[in-house]
Structures are given as structure tokens and as C-alpha cells.
Symmetry: C2
Subunit: 409 residues, 2 copies
């Protein structure tokens, strides 16, 4: 069953240039889907460093376990991704499947197995047909190319459009590029990273510094989005740096030469995360929730997520209803410090409530107009401190139920 | 907009006899609804003791604040309930509204204001038309009667059927009765009690003992149900004991004479809670989730709630899909101790997964038949300890979105 393209999809895909040190190929291995690509092989130049963040799920998948363990080495030569089967909750058979896959890829590329990263997305709990995956690898290697758009398509599951972001920065006066692809639509409340996201750069940055930067920006990007409050067993974001841009290598995350790179990295991460929300299952409106006045950034984010995950808030937004009482309810249930009698709420920039009660002479007209649009902005001040955070989500529509009644994830 | 009666509604309402020391009257005050009753006055005999549990929401309503404060006195003469307006997030005006209401009722009945309990349910954030409520009180008093079924109807909001439970127990060889009414359908993940529930008994039990018993059974009854993970600002359960049954008064919760009463009380609380789940907004299937092997009863309940609140689990159940991989996902995101590699799952009594992987030769046939029914049973053992708990929820259907896009709660 295929679903219509999200109304929030970007009007056009960005041009995705070749990136020095990164080559890719996609293929149709028939792991679950028919008549579409479902495998991606990325070949990385020797010397590529790597960082990763992963789901905190206690039922995480075998590929996640493999990548976490390999990160200690900090170097990467290949990434193998498949869509259709998550290889999660597959026990020892799942681990063996990962081992066969990384061995096949390592042999093909002449590298160590710990330099092969793997990610799988799709059904949970079914045995993985890794024989189809390994059988496809030699052909993929022989067809290696620079078609990034094809790569973004090959990793989709319930996604309705492929997702990619590209951006440049400067290090030591040398232009470097950051380019990422991501997939995700449902089972989205990343608890460390979201579904499968892969960011590549030709910058030369040591693995520990790369890891520091990826971890620093994850809370306010990937971990600040939610579609349905459900956390995937496969959440994986990997950041690879090939070092081919030509500047002198950078060893420390705090190096002043990384200023432009750091800003670009956070922007790429945020833009990738937003592409996921905009393709949230059934989502018809993008909802940006700004929480201020909280005890800390962390508690502000939790309050934001309580609002973002409330089915009552989300169904009201789907109906274009400025039902701000439900926002009050969600703040109340968040379990974080908030002062009911100082609570202020605005929707679309219009003050709705102040100091714990509806504003005098409240006129719902302009708020109702705002709610009729696709870009909903909610601001909440909880009146106890200076912590703030922004969280992004979508509305909850009938299409979410259609999609998830028919898709075996 | 009215909605069809839940397919899980009991085939018939129980006979609700008069209860010594309790009299009631309902009326149509037009607070929000037209052409239906929306106010309930309960008059309690002098000497009635009272216990209560309330929402832990930080944005709790003015009536909740009032009742919590009055409980210290432990005696009750009246209960005034209205449907249509929750009097929540209404600031000082909301408090003043409660004060006017309890003053009017106290004057009418010749009691202290602290003996008048109030509960309101409906829209959050709108000023309360308490003048209509207080104006209705003298007529209600003059029409006082024993029509419990009418009382159950007068407190409904999005409920599709009235909810009441009755049961007897024995104290010192004397038969006592416990009879309760409850309302609730959406915004149901009680964090102390659920929406509005009122239990009455003619037993003679001191207020502190009553409070101990109510608090003891709340976690495994009202706090073990969820419809949509959203916690109401108005959650209130009150337990009143009129002492009219004729046995010698009981002072201590642990008194051995209360054995039969304690069992009956827990059963009444559980049955009332289940009536709420069965009328959950849009619910078409009752889902019972038994979690075992957890570190404690509390963590077992949290894991059960994570499964029960997962939109992906709930939409799969709505589609009759035995999608057990999503149960694995929900256990993983619960944030409580669980051993992925010892996890076992059964559905409808059929083993699906054992020791972290699907059982050998798994046949989905009998599980699919079970999923086609209305009474879905999921059992999960998380393999780390001896804690267990049962949680009840419903599925997530299109009707939930219809209801909540059209109702201003």
C-alpha cells in the first residue's frame, strides 16, 4: 500500500553533488519490497573518521549493537543499509546475520570488519534474509557512482519522499561540504538519534572531535522531534568525515577553525530532523512548540514533548481547532516544574493565556486563521525559570491510522 | 455531535438500589449542553466520612484544589457535580466560582462549606457559569430522590453510556453496599484517580481508614488504565461512607472485620475503571496487558503503560494485526529494566516470542483469530525480576480522531 506524498514535502529536492571520498550504489535485493531499491552500499575512502548516536531502546537491533561496538575504532570504510527488515529482536540469528554481512563487505573492500557500518530498517522480529543482501554487494561495488538522490530513495520505508540536505562550511579558508540523507516517518521519538540518518563531510576531523560535535547537537535537533512518541529499535545517525577537502586535519571539537563547520553541522542535523517530521505518518501540519520559563533546557524539552505527544493536542490541530485548554492539560501532565498561575500561552504569535488564565477580551479569530495554515506555532512560558527549548511535531490525522493499520513495522 | 454507543458497553445497566444515607437529584442547568441533564446534587447524611484521590496534574482544576483542602476534615454532607465546564485554568475567578458554589450548597443543607465536595468536567480554560449551577440547587434539593441511573447520566461528557457498579460486602455479619458512578472516555491516563468517580457505601468507617483503603487500591485500578496517555486536570475519585448499615463503626483500615469490604472495594474500583476503558474514545477492543518478570510492580506497570500508550501498538490492534514487533519496541522505549534476550510475549495465550526471539515454527493463525475478537490479551515477561502488573487500554481507531476534532475539551 503506498500513501500520497506528504503535503509538507519540499517542493523540490536539493542538488546533491559528488562528495570527495564518498561513493555509493543502490540495488533491489527484494528483502521485503518488490519493484524498488532496498539496499545501499556506501564506500568511504581510507582514513575516513566516524561518529554515531543510537537509540536508547532496550530492545535495540543487532545492527545498532554492531555499530556501537565498532565506534571505539573510529574509522570507517563502508556503510551497508537495507530497508524492509529491521533485524531487531532476532536474537543470536540476528547477530550472525550482521556478522555475515560485515564479513562479506570487508572482504569485498579489503578492510577490517570493524570498518563496516550497517543499518537496517523495517519489520521488527522477523529473520533477516541477509543472503540476498550479501549476494547483492559485488554488483553494487561494480556499479559504484555518485547518485545521492538514489541513495536517499533506497532507504525509505513508509516515507513518502526521499530526504537529503547539503550545505557548505569553511575550515582554514577551505570550503568543505556536509551532505546527509535520512529516513523516518513513524515510530519517531528519537531518544538519541532518529531512525536512520547518515551525514558525510569531506572535512578532516578526528573521530573523537566528530563524536563530541554529533552528541552536542543531537538533543536540540534529532531528539527534539516526535511524530508519535514511539521510539525505534533502530535509531542510528552516523557522521563520516573523509578528510578529502584539503585542509589541515582538526583534532579537537573546540578548535576555533571549526566555527563555520559547527554551525553548518547543527543546521544540517536540524534540517534533516525537520524533513522527518514533515513526512510524519499522516502529518498535514508542522507544529513548532517553543517552551520558555522552564527550570532548565532539559525540562523545557520534556514539557515541549508532552505537548507534542498529546493525542488530544494533535487531533485538535488536525481539526484546525485552537483548543489551548489541551495545551494546559499537557503542561500539567508533563511531570516537570511549572507554575499554573504564571502560565502563558500564545498561538501564532497571538497571546491566548497569561498568568494562569485566558487573556481579557480574547478573540479567537486571528488564532483560528493561524490554525487553518500548515505551519502552526505554539509558545508556552511556564513561569519558573530561564530554561527554553524548541520541539517539532505534526498533527494526528486519519491517515496515521490508515498507514499503521496496513503496514507491518 | 453525538457518537455511537461503544461496542464494548455492557449489554444492560445494573439495578442500582437506594443506599442508606445517600440521596440524589439531577437537573439541566444549561452550563454547556442543551436538552440534557448536566448537574448532580448528592445529599449525604450527617456523620458521613470521606476519602479522595486526585489528579497529580500541575494544572489541576479549582474544584480539585477545593476537595484536597477539605479532606483534612474528613466529613461530607454534599457533592455537587457539573458537566460541560471543567473550571480548570480559570485562575482566581475559578476559585471564586467554587467558593460561591459551596457557600450556596452549605447554606441550603445547613452544613459547613468544608463538607461540600465539588467536581467539574468539560472544557478547560473557559470561565464557569456558576450562577446557573447555584440557581439550580434549591430545585434539586426539593426533588431529591434515589435515581442513581439519572446521576450516572448527568455527569457524562464524551461518554457514550452511563457507568455504574454496585456490590455488597459484610462487616460484623451486617450486609453493607458499595455503589459507584464514574465518567470518562478521553483524556484518560489517571495519575491518581480517573476523571470523576464517586463511590458510596453505607458502611461505618473512619475517614483515615477510608483514605488508606482508597489510596491502596488506586494504583492497581484507576491508575492502571489508559485511553490516550493524556491526564485530566480534573481527575477526582471520592469515597463516601454514610455509616447507616448498622454495624459498629470501624476505625482502622487493617481491621480484620473489613476483609470482605476491602475485596468488594477493590472490585468496585476495578470495575468502574474498566467501564471507562470500554468507553474510551473510539475504542472498539478492550486490551488487557499483563507484564511479569519486572524489577517491581511499579516498573511492571510502567512497561505495561508504555505498551498501552503506543500509538503503533494501538493502531495495529485496531487493524486486527498481531504486530508483536511493536510490543517489543514499546518495551524497549519504556525506560525500565528489561532483558531483551529473555523477553517473552504471548497473545491470546499463544506464545509468540521467547528468550528474545520469535518462537520456532510460529504460526500466526490462532493469534490472528484472537486479534479479530473484542477482548485482546497480551502477556509480556521482561525477564529481570518478579514484579507484575496488569494494565488495561483500548485500540486507537478513526473514531478517536473524529471525536477529538469535534469536541472542545
Amino acid at each position: 500500500m503506498s500513501h500520497p506524498i506528504s503535503p509538507l514535502a519540499p517542493p523540490a529536492q536539493p542538488d546533491l553533488p559528488a562528495l570527495a571520498g564518498v561513493r555509493l550504489a543502490t540495488g533491489a535485493a527484494g528483502i521485503r519490497y518488490k519493484d524498488r531499491t532496498d539496499v545501499l552500499l556506501v564506500e568511504l575512502t581510507p582514513g575516513t573518521t566516524v561518529a554515531g548516536v543510537f537509540t536508547k531502546s532496550l530492545t535495540r537491533s543487532a545492527p545498532v549493537d554492531w555499530c556501537k561496538q565498532s565506534l571505539a575504532k573510529g574509522s570507517a570504510r563502508a556503510l551497508v543499509v537495507n530497508a524492509g527488515n529491521a533485524n531487531a529482536f532476532t536474537g543470536k540469528a540476528g547477530e550472525a546475520s550482521v556478522e555475515r554481512t560485515v564479513k562479506a563487505a570487508a572482504k569485498l573492500l579489503g578492510c577490517s570488519t570493524n570498518e563496516v557500518y550497517v543499518a537496517s530498517t523495517g519489520v521488527i522480529g522477523e529473520p533477516m534474509a541477509d543472503d540476498r543482501l550479501t549476494a547483492a554487494l559485488p554488483t553494487l561495488r561494480s556499479q559504484i557512482n555518485d547518485d545521492w538522490a538514489a541513495a536517499a530513495r533506497a532507504i525509505m520505508t513508509t516515507d513518502t519522499y526521499p530526504k537529503a540536505v547539503t550545505r557548505t562550511a569553511r575550515i582554514d579558508g577551505v570550503e568543505v561540504r556536509l551532505q546527509g540523507i535520512i529516513k523516518g516517518s513513524g515510530m519517531i521519538q528519537p531518544d538519541m538519534a532518529t531512525m536512520l540518518g547518515f551525514i558525510f563531510t569531506d572535512a578532516a576531523i578526528a573521530a573523537p572531535a566528530l563524536q563530541t560535535l554529533l552528541a552536542r547537537y543531537t538533543p536540540r535537533t534529532f531528539n527534539s522531534i516526535t511524530v508519535d512518541s514511539d521510539t525505534s529499535t533502530s535509531d542510528t545517525v552516523l557522521l563520516f568525515a573523509t578528510g578529502k577537502a584539503g585542509h589541515a586535519p582538526v583534532a579537537e571539537a573546540g578548535d576555533s577553525r571549526l566555527g563555520s563547520f559547527r554551525r553548518a553541522l547543527e543546521a544540517v542535523m536540524r534540517d534533516l530532523a525537520l524533513l522527518v517530521v514533515k513526512d510524519g505518518e499522516g502529518v498535514e501540519r508542522l507544529v513548532t512548540i517553543e517552551v520558555s520559563g522552564a527550570a532548565s533546557e532539559r525540562t523545557a524539552r520534556r514539557i515541549g514533548l508532552a505537548i507534542a505527544n498529546s493525542p488530544l493536542v494533535k487531533t485538535a490541530i488536525a481539526a484546525g481547532d485552537a483548543n489551548w485548554g489541551r495545551i494546559v492539560m499537557a503542561v500539567g501532565k508533563a511531570g516537570e516544574k511549572a507554575d499554573r498561575d504564571k502560565l502563558s500561552i500564545s498561538i501564532g504569535g497571538v497571546a491566548v493565556a497569561r498568568n494562569g488564565a485566558r487573556v481579557e477580551g480574547y478573540d479567537e479569530g486571528p488564532v483560528a486563521s493561524h490554525m487553518a495554515g500548515r505551519d502552526i506555532r505554539i509558545a508556552v512560558d511556564v513561569g519558573v525559570g530561564r530554561g527554553k527549548a524548541t520541539v517539532w511535531t505534526g498533527d494526528l490525522t486519519h491517515r496515521y491510522i490508515d498507514i499503521n493499520g496496513s503496514y507491518r513495522s
